[in-house]
Amino acid sequence: MTAAAAMVRVEGLCKRFSVPRREAGLRAALRALVRREYRVVEAVRDLEFSLAPGERVGFLGPNGAGKTTTLKMLAGLIVPSAGRVEVAGFTPSDRRPEFLRRVSLVMGQKRQLSWDLPAIDNFEFNRVVYEIDPVHYKRRLEELTALLDVGEVMRRPVRQLSLGERMKCELVAALLHGPQVLFLDEPTIGLDVSMQLGIREFIRRYNAEHGATVILTSHYMEDVAALCPRILVIDGGRLRFDGSIEALRRQIRPLRRVSVRAAALPDDPTAMGRVVLREGGRLVLDVAPERVPEVVGALVALPEAQDLAVHDAPLEEVMRALFGREEAADLGGAIGHAR
């Protein structure tokens, strides 16, 4: 990817916050009145990456890892302490109207629509503010409301809508002006599974049809796995991994899970790999990737062998390992680029 073609370019990006610090208790509270002590928190350290137009990228990381801070710097809401950010050819923190018209931010935990008005009034307001051509607006509104099925919903005051209905309306409002870059901060938080699936499907379709770059943060690994061919793992404010979800999975849990059912099991399966389960006629092993063909061959040869399967480690396990502090170090200092 050449630098000129990048939609998002981040170089040496840092964000430091100074937060007041005091011990618990009344005495400390009184002391803090006189002399406030500050502690510098490095929320984001030396980030470096670039995204091509039309990419769907997920930011993964535990709470407080710096995902949302990074997203807010990309959206121009907060000013970096050091480094460079360029989005669609603009420096986001300048907040030029030309830039703001090319991007959109949807926050699952914040409503952006006016509470007491129907969503359609909010849409109309956006039409004017974003200078959307009326013909274009009409077409886009029809398309989005049909895709998200909010034709009726958008005429009721926002406060009467369910969380899922409201989120759909938020998405319509965010997309009416046809942003080139869409920032999504926890867009499916609190939604039920079918609504999550609906929103996910919509975002994928929108990206495919309009070629917008999508940048997503989510606590739901499923969201990220289903939506984003590319993952950036941010932890402790640093970029720990950049690649596909498969590559991430294999890096954290390199062993393949091989399972089989047979009339008789081998006497010493530990020679093949780590035994996860051995019960009745069923055997589950974690096997090193290079030994998989050999082990599969041996298992197929077992009497009445059936249901032979080879899997990557389950996503939840990867997630636990990724977000569990002590194991997170397994990623090592080197950033994976296994895309």
């Binding site: 916050f17 949302t68 807010k72 959206a75 121009g76 809401l77 907060i78 000013v79 923190s93 907040r95 109207p97 030309e98 703001l100 018209r101 991007v103 959109s104 931010l105 926050m107 699952g108 935990q109 914040k110 952006q112 006016s114 007491d116 008005l117 009034d121 909010n122 109309e124 307001f125 004017v128 503010v129 974003y130 200078e131 005051p157 901060d185 926890e186």
Partner: protein, 268 residues
């Protein structure tokens, strides 16, 4: 250039429409607000009682009625509440929504404020009328030059807005910006002419008080409305208002610009 002006007019109209719709949705709380800002009417009861036995300074009883009814109405016409909105938005992170729009958040606040004024006026005018009827059915004395009054009201509104934005922006750095505003409000009640016409302050003190922004935001337009400011006093008062507007406008602009750069976009 005219294209930009056209877009500005369209955005202004759109904010106006949406804010008016919101103000109508909040009409009951708006009425409560009008009722809680009837402080000049309380002063009216007090001072017209005192003036029953003879004029206080150059204010006879009917003069007090005219003065405080005008004060009540002008306060409604020039009211601002941006400090509450802005400091709340900064603390909660709701400011994010305004910052992501390709329009100035300050313009948005200003128009939103302006759009609610007609509703406030519609609610306040009958109250003013009732008080005038009960207190003796007095019509306002000669309102002087209407143009000067209109200009003075606009300046008073701008001044209030500038103060509100300035103090509201402090929320970028401190959590207690609304408490600071309470301090301002305390001074305002005493020094603006809401509790007592500033011309009744003792000589020496009166001159100082009448030069402060508090008087510029209420006392002066009231005196203009009831015909107590005439001739050179009109020009002088308008100039003083303009000066305070420029001062607080500049302060608000600086604090806003710096604040946005210090903003931490709290909340997700």
């Amino acid at each position: 250039m005219s294209q930009r002006a056209g877009q500005l007019a369209r955005v202004t109209a759109a904010v106006w429409r949406i804010s008016l719709a919101e103000a109508i949705a909040y009409r009951v709380s708006m009425l409560m607000w009008v009722l809680t800002t009837t402080f000049p009417l309380v002063s009216l009861a007090l001072w017209s009682g005192l003036a029953a036995s003879g004029p206080v300074g150059d204010y006879a009883r009917p003069d007090f009625v005219a003065y405080f009814v005008a004060a009540f109405l002008i306060r409604q016409f020039t009211a601002s509440w941006v400090v509450w909105e802005l400091s709340g938005q900064i603390r909660s992170g709701d400011l994010n929504t305004l910052l992501m729009r390709p329009m100035s958040p300050m313009l948005y606040h200003a128009i939103q404020n302006l759009a609610a004024l007609p509703i406030r006026c519609a609610l306040a005018l009958p109250i003013g009328g009732v008080v005038l009827a009960l207190a003796g059915g007095l019509a306002w004395p000669n309102p002087g030059s209407l143009a000067a009054l209109a200009l003075s009201l606009a300046l008073a509104w701008l001044l209030n807005l500038g103060v509100h934005v300035s103090i509201g922006c402090l929320a970028f750095w401190v959590t207690e910006s609304t408490a600071l505003f309470e301090v301002w409000l305390g001074l305002y009640l005493v020094l603006s002419g809401a509790a007592v016409p500033t011309s009744l302050y003792p000589a020496g003190l009166a001159e100082v008080v009448r030069a402060l922004p508090f008087h510029a935001s209420l006392g002066f337009p009231v005196e203009l409305a009831i015909g107590r400011a005439t001739g050179a006093a009109v020009t002088h008062g308008l100039a003083l208002q303009a000066l305070w507007v420029a001062a607080f406008g500049a302060l608000a602009a600086v604090l806003w610009r710096r604040g946005v750069r210090a903003y931490e976009g709290v909340g997700t």
